[in-house]
């Protein structure tokens, strides 16, 4: 029979919709509205997993996000959609769900790892710090570690890429209400009614909160109706957003709350195009924290047996899901709330073997206690469970009075425990809210926060439904803009719920046997004895306690255990609990899927990609691309049968012999206008600029404030007051920001305006001895040497298939050949490119990529910001000391004269030629003696190198200690990584046309 433990009626499940699911290979059935946990319980499945350290059998402990035990592997571990460590208590059931227990082998019923439980006497808290140190080599620890790592961990990560997608959603509101229980609904409704923009979110699928105050009445209505009415009313407001299945997981600066919406996790078949989860970034003017409270247990021997459950959870299963979590229960409590469980279970037909109450009989006289007695329940006052018995499920408990004495055994298959309730203060604490220890509740409750976050209801220690609704309304009203956040933090009476009888703190029941395990942290197997051991050894700060024992470090982050642990530490130290304090609450409140954090910005979009206007042409013509910053640039254009290197060599040779065209659109371009542009240039470049004539351009070098080279480029004068500056691709943003800073902050009186035009202009460089004849065919100006000499600039047009296109032409050369740069508005980039390629057909034009460009510039000895100017070099190191104009100030100049920047052993730019016909190794280091014992002193390193097709030799640029004085020396270039050593000859960095004659033809 399926669902043998389903009650005949009741609950929010939809009994008309049966869903099939599989757990550990067995088929079961549940109903729509079930969680996996409630469905398992309905089928009598209690053993669902094994614990982290001792591999002890574990069952379902809670009914919510605090679950430490019931973690399952969702979907078959071999699939791409498998998910480890899913809380059965939070996973909505869907048709076809498949789940399995974790951390056990071969099965949850017989688990080899349980050997750890037998050996547990050797494994107290922190045992690994004391052993595994022999034999004394790191190799041995690696071997021990291998075994330990395989025993640890829990579920299994997927092996295939996640097939689902995720997205972000920014949102803004006046009031964010976290938690849709009675308090949250009341707060949201009040704020929305007052006209505020409201967002209300709740971690669960249904509104109304965790405990389910079924039976209570609010505003003279049964609570269920009140909930339904309030939700419906709320939804009517224009400016409210209701977010079920959405966990507010973190509170960040500026009142921004991160929340995660599980959009399709409850569906067997997610709709196409719908994200699996959505990460909300909610900027709220104020936050009402109505996140409820979390129940805690009590430690006694074997309090981890399956069948042991928080009292509130047992009640939730019975009332909310219509499930009987056991057939014969004992209820163990130190406060009133568990009486509701006892009564509800009793109503549901569960035999209540006993209500074991730690409080004296004299306190158990109020309505609820009487009600329980009247219903025939046996109340054992002054008593406690001293131990539980059973194998894979609890079978009985031993009960004794707290004063000691003989114990009696009570048979049961369900133990419902309540040690009190802890307000869910996580977000409040993340918002720098201070906590206060509340004696009557024996827990920490919100005190004050400097930020606009208002705790209310159970989250504020108010456990009475009517009072919680009142607090919710007050908080909702106080949170609306202009209200001034006046809600006082504690305005309702604080009692432990229902009947107002005081709770009697009870953290752990004294052990009767030394070997008995009394668990505090169920997930991490931290016991009462572990806490005592930490205290004994001096790990007494809560933070040491946590790190030494791993208390609270599990996926539940100690939601049900932390307070017990620190209370026990306080007992050990004989200190009041507030003196011991809590560990830090950190985001996320409950674990958040990694995939949600990048949203769309993942895989190909993890960073944006920038494409030049000519990109498609390059692609159509066989270009191989490389990443250059965010840009894609053609590396080379291999022809059939060519390697990329062959192609680059051919392209480079062709530039020297014929003509080539390269896409240089990625260079940074900044236009400057105003009367004082020349003065600005004088201040940011090392060389002099007030002499730059109209229609001319010049090369410049910029320094950082510390005197080292920052960037280089050219600047052209387009009109009397209009200039164009180019920067390197990588530094474009940085240079623009620096100019803006200087103009806005430091030199406000300069009449200069700047804008980035990198995107505006597509640019190509045409170089080679035949460049002019090609250019002449497409330009509408005279490009003869006389009319358009070296370093000339013109505003002109290019003849393209789209007609005459406005252009700028620059006669400058990076390759060392006769060369021009042509810029056109980017929407004409491709037309310009095609026009030049077509015009160059007769001249043997070839497109070339960054690799050939690199070869050409290395041959020419041109430096690049990056390899040569590596952030540690001065202009003088690069052989450009003479550019520093002695007659004027510029950025970086004041610190240039420091001794270390002018020392004789500075690494200076040189050229190297590989001897013996050898190939230059990649990224080699330069040494004098390759056989020197290690460490072998390094004289410098190779910065850029290539095979020079034009010289038929491997050449390089290098930074070499005192390099300019070493021209002619023979040294060694070494790459131990590649196991290569090559003799190299030092020379000047320029290998081709040092006089620059070819530029000026």
């Amino acid at each position: 029979m399926t669902q043998p433990h389903r009650l005949p009626e009741g609950g929010i499940i939809d009994r008309t919709r049966a869903l099939r699911f599989e757990f550990d290979g067995v088929q079961h059935e549940g109903y729509a509205g079930d969680t996996l946990a409630s469905a398992l319980l309905a089928n009598g499945v209690h053993l669902v997993g094994r614990s982290f350290k001792y591999h002890r059998p574990r069952g379902i402990f809670s009914a919510g996000a605090e679950e430490p035990n019931a973690l399952v592997q969702l979907s078959p571990a071999s699939g791409a959609r498998t998910e480890p460590n899913v809380k059965a208590t939070m996973q909505a059931l869907y048709d076809g769900l498949i789940a399995a227990s974790q951390n056990c082998w071969p099965s949850v019923h017989f688990d080899v790892g349980a050997i750890n439980n037998v050996m547990s006497c050797l494994m107290p808290a922190g045992f690994y710090y004391k052993t595994f140190m022999w034999p004394p080599t790191p190799k041995w620890w690696l071997k021990y570690e291998h075994v330990i790592r395989h025993a640890a961990g829990m579920g299994r990560a997927a092996l295939a890429p996640d097939p689902d997608h995720y997205e972000h959603q920014y949102a803004h509101c006046d009031v964010l209400v976290v938690g849709g229980g009675l308090t949250g609904l009341a707060a949201a409704h009040t704020a929305a009614k007052a006209g505020a923009r409201v967002i209300l979110c709740d971690e669960s699928a249904a509104w109304g909160g965790g405990v389910g105050d079924i039976g209570a009445t609010i505003d003279d209505r049964p609570v269920d109706r009140w909930i339904a009415d309030t939700v419906r009313d709320c939804a009517r407001f224009d400016d409210i957003t209701l977010l079920p299945r959405t966990t507010a997981f973190g509170y960040y600066d500026g009142n921004l709350v991160g929340a995660i919406e599980r959009v399709t996790d409850h569906l067997s078949e997610p709709p196409a195009h719908t994200p699996r989860q959505r990460l909300w970034k909610i900027r709220a003017k104020s936050v009402v924290l109505a996140s409820g409270a979390i129940e805690r247990g009590i430690a006694y021997a074997n309090n981890d047996l399956p069948g042991t459950m928080l009292a509130g959870a047992a009640r939730t299963y019975a009332r909310r899901y219509g499930v009987r979590p056991g057939t014969r229960a004992v209820v163990f409590t130190n406060n009133d709330s568990a009486y509701l469980t006892a009564l509800d279970l009793h109503d549901a037909g569960v035999a209540i073997a006993a209500v074991i109450d730690a409080r004296p009989a004299s306190q158990l006289t109020r309505g609820l206690h009487q009600h329980a007695r009247a219903s025939g329940l046996a109340i054992l006052p002054d008593s406690a469970i001293i131990g539980a018995r059973g194998g894979r499920r609890v079978a009985s408990v031993d009960v004794a009075t707290l004063a000691g004495g003989r114990s009696t055994r009570v048979d049961c298959d369900l133990v419902c425990v309540s040690g009190g309730w802890n307000p869910a203060v996580h977000l409040f604490s993340q918002a720098r809210g201070k906590l206060r220890y509340d004696e009557p509740l024996a827990t920490f409750v919100p005190d004050i926060s400097p930020l606009p976050i208002l705790p209310a209801g159970a989250a504020n220690g108010c456990f009475d439904p009517t009072a919680a609704v009142m607090e919710g309304r007050a908080a909702g009203a106080a949170a609306i803009p202009g209200a001034g956040m006046m809600a006082s933090p504690h305005h309702s009476p604080r009692t432990n719920g229902v009947d107002g009888t005081a709770l009697q703190p009870l953290w752990a029941v004294p052990a009767t046997r030394r070997t008995a395990k009394r668990f505090v942290d169920l997930q991490n197997d931290v016991t009462v004895d572990d806490i005592a051991l930490a205290a004994r050894e001096g790990y007494v700060s809560v933070e040491h306690l946590k790190r030494y024992t791993t208390l609270g470090m599990g996926t539940d982050q100690g939601k049900t255990s932390n307070i017990i642990g620190l209370a026990l530490m306080a007992e050990q130290l004989d200190l009041p609990i507030p003196k011991v304090g809590t560990t830090t609450f950190r985001p996320p409140y409950t674990p958040v899927t990694l995939g949600a954090f990048p949203g769309h910005e993942t895989a190909a979009h993890v960073e944006p990609t920038r494409y030049s206007a000519m990109h498609d042409w390059h692609q159509e013509h066989g270009a191989r691309f490389v990443n250059a910053g965010l840009w894609k640039r053609p590396h080379s254009y291999p022809r059939p049968g060519e390697t990329e290197d062959d192609a680059a060599n051919r392209e480079a040779r062709n530039v020297r012999t014929h003509v080539g065209l390269v896409d240089v659109s990625t260079l940074g371009k900044i236009e400057l206008q105003g009367r004082d542009v020349a003065e600005l240039l004088n201040r940011v470049y090392i060389n002099k600029w007030d002499t730059l004539a109209l229609g001319r351009c010049r090369y410049g070098v910029m320094l950082r404030d510390d005197g080292l080279v920052m960037d280089d480029g050219t600047t052209s004068r387009l009109s009397a007051t209009h200039y164009l500056m180019t920067t390197t691709t990588v530094n474009a943003v940085r240079v623009m920001q620096q100019l803006e800073y200087l103009l806005q902050a430091e030199w406000r009186n300069l009449d200069v305006y700047a804008t980035s035009v990198t995107e505006q202009w597509a640019a190509a460089a045409l170089s080679g001895p035949k460049a002019r004849e090609v250019l002449a065919k497409v330009m509408d100006i005279d490009v003869s040497n006389g009319a358009f000499p070296f370093l000339a600039v013109a505003t002109c047009h290019v003849r393209t298939a789209q007609g005459l296109v406005p252009a700028r032409a620059f006669r400058m050369s990076y390759s060392g050949e006769l060369a021009y740069e042509i810029h056109v508005p980017a929407d004409h980039g491709r037309a310009m490119w095609e026009a030049i390629i077509k015009a160059g057909d007769d001249a043997g034009i070839m497109p070339y990529g960054t690799e050939a460009m690199s070869t050409l510039r290395i041959e020419k000895g041109h430096v690049v910001i990056g390899p040569e100017a590596d952030g540690r070099t001065t202009a003088d190191d690069l052989g450009m000391g003479k550019l520093v104009n002695p007659a004027k100030w510029c950025i970086g100049k004041p610190l240039l004269a420091r001794p270390a920047l002018t020392a004789p052993d500075r690494w200076q730019l040189v050229g190297l030629t590989a001897l013996d016909g050898a190939r230059m190794p990649r990224a080699a280091k330069i040494v004098a003696n390759p056989d020197h014992a290690l460490p072998n002193p390094m004289l410098g390193h190779v910065t850029s190198w290539c095979y020079s097709p034009n010289l038929d030799a491997w050449i390089a640029l290098a930074l070499l200690a005192n390099g300019r004085a070493r021209h002619g020396e023979v040294l060694w270039a070494l790459s131990p990584l590649a196991n290569v050593r090559v003799r190299v000859k030092v020379g000047p960095p320029c290998f081709i046309d040092p006089e620059g004659a070819r530029l000026r033809v």
């Binding site: 972000h168 920014y170 769309h600 944006p608 105003g674 995107e759 929407d827």
Partner: protein, 200 residues
């Protein structure tokens, strides 16, 4: 959208949205000029008015329409001049060099950035929601009124937003980032189906 739908999908609804679910389409920018200068100096602002027939807006994140021109506030000393939607190319955005020189002579500057940006229109009931998936701006009508403009990010990419109507936005992104922004826009809009033009 019924209340029920709204709750189920968790999407804030733009109450002023028109009937269309969502339309995405590239739009062409013919001419876009960036004017810069100090608006508190009369020679400059007078000259702008003289040249273009508009006084540039001095209130942040607003636009001014002058005849066929739309001037968008980009910064305290920077504006973008474009043809207003539907306007025929007019003479005011012609003769770049003369106008540049005139502004340079009056302590201002003029840059031609016509090809720098690519524009999209995002229109329909979900327009604001789709933008807010990737942009931290508040698109509520109270915070971002009709006729307003603002610069921010769309995903990783800098973007300029303009709101011509309650449920319609123009988004401009730098040209080299177009594909990235378009992919993000499409992915964010996919769940609403709707009318998506082919990529630019």
């Amino acid at each position: 959208m019924s209340d029920q739908d709204r709750i189920a999908s968790g999407i804030p609804v733009d109450p002023h949205a028109g009937p269309a679910p969502l339309v995405l389409a590239p739009i062409a920018i013919a001419t876009a000029w960036n004017v810069q200068g100090d608006p508190t100096r009369a020679p400059f602002s007078d000259e702008v008015e003289n040249l273009f027939g508009v006084r540039v807006p001095t209130v942040a994140n607003t636009t001014v329409r002058g005849g066929t021109l739309l001037a968008l506030w980009l910064g305290p000393r920077s504006w973008l001049l474009v043809h207003a939607a539907g306007a025929e190319a007019s003479s005011s955005l012609m003769d770049f060099e003369a106008k540049r020189d005139a502004l340079n002579a009056h302590g201002g500057a003029l840059f031609d950035v016509s090809a720098s940006r690519v524009a999209f229109t995002i229109r329909g009931a979900h327009a604001a929601t789709v933008l807010a998936k990737n942009c931290p701006l508040d698109f509520h009508l109270r915070a971002f009124p009709v006729g307003g403009c603002a610069q921010s990010l769309f995903g990783h990419v800098n973007a300029l937003f303009y709101r011509p109507e309650a449920s319609s936005f123009t988004m401009m992104v730098a040209r080299s980032f177009t594909r990235d922004a378009w992919d993000t826009l499409r992915a964010s809009a996919a769940q609403y189906g709707g009318d998506v033009a082919p990529p630019p």
